[in-house]
Symmetry: C2
Subunit: 252 residues, 2 copies
């Protein structure tokens, strides 16, 4: 969706390193925003984005207009896999339908052999991978690690919404993930206790509200209690009016 940061650029760099030709799509997709979400104020910096991608060695940038991607009368969409109803899906019920449809359309237009997604949007990667499997889409999906600022905050185009005070609060998210990850690595297997602690740390850290804090199987996104490695720790919170998500994998 553009407004590129080092997280996005790490995907472009992975592709440039591993592929003959790299195409980056930049499209702030209206159908994955619900009414009241931040479609209108979502940051757009196309000129700067294209310059950054050129420096990374990207061959093509595909940045269509919404009217091009959704012609008048267009009405076919992808009904995303059931896994999209959990977690993000509970709070953004139309989100993954919009994501799955635009990703399939972009795949059909660009026809990549390999597509790079960031682990930051953890459930999105799971949904896209299952769509690819279920619809036999001839694309290999590769996941790249989360890129963080020096203070640990996961990079997000939405971080620019944060005031300095809010940014302090937002650091609680990664601290919570790291703390809980260590507890699990130290042998904690009680999922309920872990969840209670996650929520308490987030509240103590000053987040405005918690959409979810979850310990799940990394593939099925089913709650993992008792905890059996590997698990994914997933968090979605509001800090002020800004919704932030973050996650980490815990493997044996």
């Amino acid at each position: 969706m553009g407004a590129l940061h080092e997280g996005h650029l790490s995907l472009a760099r992975a592709s440039v390193a591993e592929s003959d030709v790299t195409v980056v799509t930049i499209f702030v997709n209206p159908t994955q925003f619900a009414p009241g979400e931040d479609l209108d104020k979502y940051p757009r910096r196309l000129e700067e984005d294209v310059k950054l991608l050129g420096e990374v060695g990207v061959d093509h940038v595909f940045c269509p207009e919404a009217e091009t991607m959704y012609a008048p009368g267009s009405s076919t969409s992808v009904s995303p896999p059931k896994i999209s109803r959990k977690l993000e899906g509970e709070f953004r019920p139309t989100h993954f339908g919009g994501v799955a449809t635009i990703v399939l359309k972009l795949f059909n237009i660009v026809a990549p052999d390999v597509a790079y997604f960031g682990q930051k949007d953890y459930q999105q990667v799971v949904v896209v991978k299952q769509m690819v499997r279920d619809l036999n889409v001839p694309v290999e999906v590769r996941t790249c690690p989360i890129v963080r600022d020096n203070d640990g905050l996961a990079l997000s185009s939405r971080n620019i919404y944060l005031s300095p005070e809010e940014r302090e609060v937002a650091l609680t998210i990664n601290r919570t993930l790291s703390h809980v990850r260590q507890q699990i690595l130290d042998g904690q297997r009680d999922g309920f206790e872990v969840l209670t602690e996650m929520r308490q740390m987030l509240i103590d850290g000053g987040v405005t509200s918690i959409d979810y804090a979850a310990v799940v199987n990394p593939d099925t996104l089913e709650s993992a209690d008792p905890i059996q490695l590997p698990v994914a720790l997933l968090i979605a919170v509001y800090v002020g009016k800004t919704r932030l998500i973050d996650n980490c994998l815990v493997t044996a």
Copy 2:
């Protein structure tokens, strides 16, 4: 869906004539049948089908098992365009969702440049063409004309269900289409009168029930009254327990 007749073979012949490599898919797709429809008794003659296709010069036949096409846990599907809710969609509300999903999956597996569909399933072609447009599927869809027996009955794998007496009744369908087509070519522009006459002819001919008889815009499938050429005449009826569809285009 196999049980090949000359209509199917005409599609294979068109592809062999126009393409370097021809792949035919044969798959009785369970998700486009509703409970109570004829999935179980639908004719299956794979060995004979493969022999016929070899004689036509087809290079490959792809005939997967249902378990291969729908792996356990698979849950992504195509939500078909709105046009799929009309006509067939009123009587078979889940049909085109199943069709659109399997067609997209087969397109993704076979990766054809051109795909051949029969005009016999008129609305199916319209739905598939719109799906291809809406989802940017890189396939050109070509339509081949309806193939009829000497007595005028449109070829259908379901014709084998008809008793000799039922087959006599079924001939009314094409007679009705031909009669109404001539009336329109002779200047009839009153859509309501045409529909009334179509229904009366079908009833007089002895059909068991009429799902629909329609005079529509060939692209939008909206009712055409007053009639403006071109129009498509579409009929779906039961003869005994067998559901038959047929259609014809009327162009200036």
